[in-house]
Assembly symmetry: C2
């Protein structure tokens, strides 16, 4: 693989090192790698170096291995493992033997957990978030980086409604298509949509939820998104399907939402909002909701406030941050909104991603034609590490349902979500 | 009513005022009452004074009225409405005409809501919490005040398992007994209890949940409580019912919990913990949970951080505080616990309280014999205002289910909570 082809990912090129690259691994290098493994909680994996030497923190237990192809990759890994593992895997200077997801799950599972809630650490985290510019313009650039790389690319491995968010599998063996439809229904049922009502959607992706709500629940939808490619696609589909009179796609930022609606919904946008903007988002919701209004936010989250991995943040999702539930509450609490229901669907996201990864891997030749081999490996790693993040509990998926505090026309229990919906498909 | 009989409630006695009590209401007094009504958001209620004069912010709309029997009550109401409404209603210096719950719901519903999340306000709230001493000893005194006033009193109006927490009504028309049983099952199912497992319960009341878990789910339970009367009752019932070998009631503070368990459960204790102790409670849970452990906390909560009404805090529940969900997260986040499910059951608590109030009112002669007429009125007001707090959205009821982050033996969806449980009883 030629490293100069990595421009699709923004990995900086680097010239050959002064280090002799193919001599034997030196004792200090082994010692440093040992320290790295220790800091990772000594996961049961094997490390193989370019000279064939091996290292194994838990002898006999490893089922997967990382292979370091040259000295530069070793030094880069030691210096900034979170960033350079991803970059050097993408460039082919590192490989994983055995199942990639299993390797990553093993590493994530053994990583020592934070045990602290000191206000200092919390403030530090909050400050780190602030560094990322989710201003109106910053958001546009961040979103363009990820979502405007081409609808044709996403079409290779998403379902036919182009849902790029966690599906819902009432039956774990159902197809991705069925599970994505089930997710749309799950969201609509939680919102208790009634024909003739109005809905505003913040961050509508390729518009599948908006079309589904209009088609099957008889509501009128105004859906906002700042990705030009997605909005163009969404408008075209709505026109083709005769829904253009009931679904309006607006190419603009959620902060410009105007008007009053019966329901607010946002699926998979909050990750891009940035915690410093939650108060603003809450204000948008508060302005947009009628007195009997209710809303749902579906977002990746985490148990403890930590920045995303440096690699994912730089190469895949600039400006993204998965909030804790405590942080999500900063949307609702200032505006006296009642949280009615929180559901954690993290294992459903792992299952969704397994489907995506399978389809993605089957499409790797096409992806390589569209981009290059580095890109193929980068996205394979991103999908695999996302699966491992959800199976190891490093990431969560929260659906949060909320309403005005005095809205008593609530469903009496959640039983309505589970009536006649447990059938196999 | 003689005011010197109010010692059961701790209402200070006061001597007759210098004010001439039975002359006509003066213009400045009417003006001050007008300001009070305005600060309450001009609820559609009527005010009647001792001289027969009336005042009504929304003429023609009022269905209920407050009657102020003398000048002292008026001045006290104006000076500290939150405290003195309760005290003077208890003493019979104030009355409500029309339905008491409706009157309170109307007032709560119109009360201007806070619209602020400024860090200063949040810090101030957090400091206010800290004033209340929920030290080991402080907690004991606070709990004694409310729960040790006599099992015979609570037996008059609770269900036969003595559940003094929100019931769960899969069918809103079911009996209180059936709904309390349904609550116990709802909690046990959320926890996915399996025979042979061990459970630790923090704040077990009269022990009904512990006995239910042991009897129907085959688990061994260690249940903590610092109310001597409740623990004595719980032990006696367990012995009578042949459960003493599987349920151990410990007369001690939750902070002394030792050992490791498959599940942690706490129903209706968090209100007495105090937000400044949530980090300590989280540490207790973290120490107590096995790797595959999960837990549930059931607590009254609120949308925005505000102290309880001064009257309820002084006369009924010293040291109590209903947290926001954001504050509850301070239990889980430091210890990397995953929140799996949050359910808001506020309307179920309103229904539960309606049953209690009905039974309570039917037992008022017995209550007056046990205590006095002031006590009868104080507890009637407390039950009625609790109903109104839940119907008006001033209070919430959160059930929060959580687990260790890597516990993947989770139910795949929540459908299991709703299988065959929608029958009428």
């Amino acid at each position: 693989m030629k490293q100069e082809k990595a421009e699709n990912l923004g990995i900086p090129s680097f010239s050959s090192p002064a280090l002799k690259r193919h001599s034997q691994v030196a004792t200090p290098e082994r010692w440093l790698m040992r320290q790295l493994l220790r800091s990772l909680g000594d996961p049961p994996i094997r490390v193989r170096f370019w000279d064939g030497a091996e290292m194994e923190p838990c002898p006999g237990e490893a089922r997967t291995a990382v292979v370091i192809h040259d000295r530069l990759a070793l030094w880069r890994l030691i210096s900034h493992p979170m960033l350079h593992f991803g970059d050097d895997y993408s460039l082919g200077r590192l490989d994983v033997e055995g199942d990639l997801v299993e390797f990553l799950d093993t590493v994530f599972r053994h990583r020592p957990r934070l045990r602290s809630s000191s206000p200092t650490r919390r403030q530090l985290m909050e400050r780190l978030q602030r560094v990322r510019r989710n201003t109106l313009r910053g958001s546009r650039e961040n979103i363009h980086h990820h979502y405007d790389i081409g609808n044709a690319f996403y079409r290779l491995w998403l379902d036919h409604e182009m849902q790029y968010t966690c599906a819902y599998f009432p039956d774990p063996d159902m197809t991705l298509e069925a599970a994505q439809r089930a997710k749309l229904d799950h969201v609509c049922r939680k919102l208790q949509l009634k024909p003739g009502e109005t809905v505003v959607e913040a961050g509508c992706g390729w518009g599948g939820l908006a079309r589904h709500m209009a088609r099957y629940y008889g509501v009128r939808v105004k859906a906002y998104n700042i990705s030009t490619e997605q909005v163009a696609y969404a408008r075209e589909r709505a026109a083709q399907e005769g829904l253009a009179d009931r679904v309006e796609y607006v190419l603009d930022d959620y902060r410009t939402i105007a008007g009053e609606y019966d329901a607010f919904v946002s699926v998979g946008m909050l990750e891009h909002v940035g915690a410093e903007q939650y108060h603003v988002l809450g204000g948008v919701i508060d302005r947009a909701l009628k007195p009997g209004g209710r809303g749902l936010i579906h977002s990746i989250g985490q148990n403890q406030a930590q920045p995303m991995s440096a690699w994912a943040e730089r190469r895949i999702f600039p400006g993204a941050y998965p909030p804790t539930l405590r942080e999500m509450m900063m949307i609702f609490e200032p505006y006296d909104l009642s949280v009615l229901d929180v559901e954690n669907l993290r294992l459903h996201y792992a299952r969704t991603l397994e489907h995506w990864l399978q389809r993605y891997e089957a499409s790797e030749p096409e992806v390589e034609q569209m981009f290059d081999a580095h890109f193929v490996r980068a996205w394979r790693l991103y999908l695999a590490s996302s699966i491992a993040s959800f199976t190891s509990g490093s990431l969560q998926l929260f659906q949060v349902l909320f309403a005005r505090p005095q809205h008593n026309g609530l469903p009496w229990s959640r039983a309505h979500l589970y009536r006649d919906h447990n059938h196999k498909e």
